[in-house]
């Protein structure tokens, strides 16, 4: 028998971590760390981390890392990249970090066409503070400060950050992945690879990943993927939103999602997919 997938990603220094059971963030982490390694970028990559649950990976991610403040990572990444143009610079931020606190930073960085990659772990909730509404929380979503669900009249509408960024001329590659099932995880990793490739070609790239937060959603861990698909996933549509400067329509994204999901199911049934 041949080893086809190992426990932790090699660029992670520890076997364990402090994320809650059923958290989607480690799945996204695995995706971008393996993408970096498989592209041979381990010794060129520099991460800039925001503030959220995922910040605890700042100590265990085995690439050089600058710990930024809430929201500021894209600007910090800009400074790093401009001084080290040959490095591969990426941010890791949550939706509270990027879309609430630092919206202008990611927009300006994209508009500038900065050759960095911004990664958003989007669970529609402030997980670290215990489950509060963010700018990406969907209408109807129950959080600790929207107990009856997010009400558009009272709390306003969510920001679809990937769609917003795709409209900017400076953004070369914009994708929204998800980790609600194995196929989506594998697909999201390919998005990371394309994003880093885009950066190497000199463009700004963005990968949003919908991640489960059963703790912040107040649901059992096993219900995380289905809850996410039915809430966040219905509003923040998965897919490659912009490739080579061309923005895809929602219909195209839906079509692609149906096709990709079928392909994945067939692959799994046939006996396996590349990790």
């Amino acid at each position: 028998m041949k080893l086809v997938g190992q426990q932790k990603p090699e660029l992670l220094l520890t076997e364990t971590h402090h994320m809650c059971p059923g958290c989607g963030e480690p799945l996204a982490l695995r995706g971008y760390l393996e993408a970096i390694q498989e592209l041979g970028l381990s010794q060129r990559a520099i991460a800039v981390a925001g503030i959220g649950c995922y910040t605890s990976f700042s100590m265990t991610t085995d690439v050089d890392l600058v710990q930024a403040l809430h929201g500021r990572a894209p600007s910090v990444a800009t400074g790093v990249k401009r001084m080290l143009p040959d490095s591969i610079v990426f941010t890791v931020q949550g939706d509270g970090d990027m879309v609430n606190e630092g919206l202008q930073e990611v927009l300006h960085t994209a508009a500038r066409g900065e050759a960095v990659t911004c990664i958003l772990l989007n669970n529609g909730v402030f997980g670290e503070t215990g489950g509060h509404m963010t700018a990406t929380s969907v209408i109807g979503q129950r959080t600790k400060n929207t107990l009856d669900g997010r009400d558009a009249d009272y709390h306003g509408y969510p920001i679809l950050i990937g769609d917003l960024l795709a409209q900017l001329q400076g953004a070369a590659y914009v994708a929204r992945g998800s980790v609600h099932n194995a196929g989506a995880v594998a697909r999201t990793k390919r998005m990371f690879k394309r994003a880093f490739q885009t950066q190497m070609d000199g463009g700004f790239s963005f990968v949003e990943v919908l991640t489960m937060c059963p703790t912040g959603w107040f649901i059992p861990t096993s219900e995380g993927p289905d809850y996410m698909s039915a809430t966040l996933g219905e509003v923040h549509i998965m897919g490659e939103l912009k490739v080579d400067g061309v923005v895809k329509s929602t219909d195209e994204l839906h079509e692609e999602n149906v096709r990709k999901a079928a392909e994945m199911e067939q692959a799994l049934a046939r006996g396996g997919i590349d990790t």
Binding site: I46, M59, V66, Q67, V76, A77, V80, M83, E105
Partner: protein, 372 residues
């Protein structure tokens, strides 16, 4: 020391050139009077010298960008006026606690930012070294010293300028200053090369290191920072004094007003008045002992500053009751609010110093509202 010869330069240009002479490779800023010309000169000159200047979309971006540049080990700076620096304070706090060698230019509106500069507007237990030049010649020297001290102490250094220093012209010689003191290696800087080795680097304000590497933790980190600040206080005070020997009246002033006060005191000394001055060049660390010694034999201490009274708190801490301390400056803006105002007038300062010296009431401040 490589001299380029004397050249007539606007202060903003001179400070940008001095930064480049000191090896500054990165600048990011957002326009704001009277800081704007400094940004303009960096934007023109840094790319010519192989560096980068980004016209940041706001002060928040500027502070973030310089944070990233510093993390790579490059000499880097940002700046604004006090208002813009208010926006940057959160990032300045983190940069300081991450021990990154930032240089900040405050081309201030008057002297309203003494508290902001020396106490900091941000969170946490931190200090910035603050250098206050009195003119362009000194600004050129202190700009280079700022980059040196930032690297020496791995701590931000703020250069406190103003409208006058930013906009008037002086003949200056932009020669690189060689400081006779070794600097610590930047073995903390990120370049990406150690990824996957188990020895990758982490630039953090929290005192954490990567798993498997020695990590002080937040408490020991903050204690070490406090010890560093004490060491800076013990060794980096810079101050100029004059006429203190038998002075009955001591005037304290910094920056451009310090130069005016120095001139006025020299004039009054020549006329036989027993008046001396103290001009703090470092606002932090503050020359408390110099102030104390000056106050020891004096009958009164006056503080001339272009604000409602901020440095006077530090002067009182230095004097510690040895003599009465009186503010003889005041709020002084020109009509636009950008400048240093009608109080920056040698005749007017002379009147106020003499009034204090003779125990007479201070003359009223000139009314400048007509310009609005």
């Amino acid at each position: 020391m490589s001299s380029t010869g004397m050249k007539l330069m606007e202060g903003s240009e001179a400070m940008a050139e001095a930064s480049i002479a000191a090896g500054c490779k990165f600048f990011a800023g957002y326009p704001m009077t009277p800081f704007t010309e400094l940004l303009e000169h960096f934007a023109k000159r840094l790319p010519e010298e192989g560096g980068v200047c980004i016209n940041a979309e706001s002060e928040l971006e500027a502070a973030g960008m310089v944070w990233g540049a510093l993390s790579t080990g490059a000499r880097a700076a940002t700046g604004s006026t006090g208002q813009g620096l208010s926006l940057m304070q959160e990032t300045f706090s983190e940069i300081t606690l991450a021990e990154l060698p930032l240089v900040i230019f405050n081309m201030a509106r008057g002297q309203q930012d003494y508290y902001q500069s020396t106490r900091g507007g941000g969170h946490g237990d931190y200090r910035h070294i603050v250098l206050a030049p009195m003119d362009i010649g000194e600004a050129v020297q202190l700009t280079q010293l700022a980059f040196h001290l930032a690297d020496k102490w791995r701590n931000p250094v703020l250069v406190y300028g103003d409208y006058l220093i930013a906009h008037i012209q002086e003949a200056v010689d932009i020669a690189r200053v060689d400081f006779d003191e070794p600097l610590p290696a930047k073995d903390w800087a990120v370049d990406g090369s150690l990824g996957g080795s188990g020895r990758s680097r982490l630039v953090s304000s929290l005192g954490f290191a990567k798993a498997g590497q020695p990590s002080p933790g937040i408490e020991r980190h903050l204690r070490a920072m406090a010890e560093k600040f004490a060491a800076i206080e013990a060794s980096e005070i810079r101050v100029e004094t004059g006429g203190l020997d038998d002075a009955e009246t001591v005037i304290v002033a910094f920056g451009s007003p310090g130069k005016f006060v120095r001139y006025v005191v020299a004039q009054l000394r020549a006329e036989g008045e027993k008046i001396g001055y103290v001009r703090p060049i470092t606002l932090w660390p503050f020359p408390y002992e110099t102030i104390a010694a000056a106050a020891e034999g004096a009958e009164r201490v006056g503080v001339f500053e272009l604000c409602a009274g901020q440095m006077i708190d530090d002067v009182r801490l230095g004097v510690l009751g040895r003599a009465p301390v009186t503010g003889i400056g005041g709020i002084s803006t020109d009509g636009s609010g950008f400048g240093v105002g009608p109080l920056l007038d040698a005749e007017l300062i002379r009147e106020r110093v003499l009034a204090l010296h003779r125990g007479a009431p201070l003359p009223p401040l000139p009314d400048n509202e007509r310009m609005l």
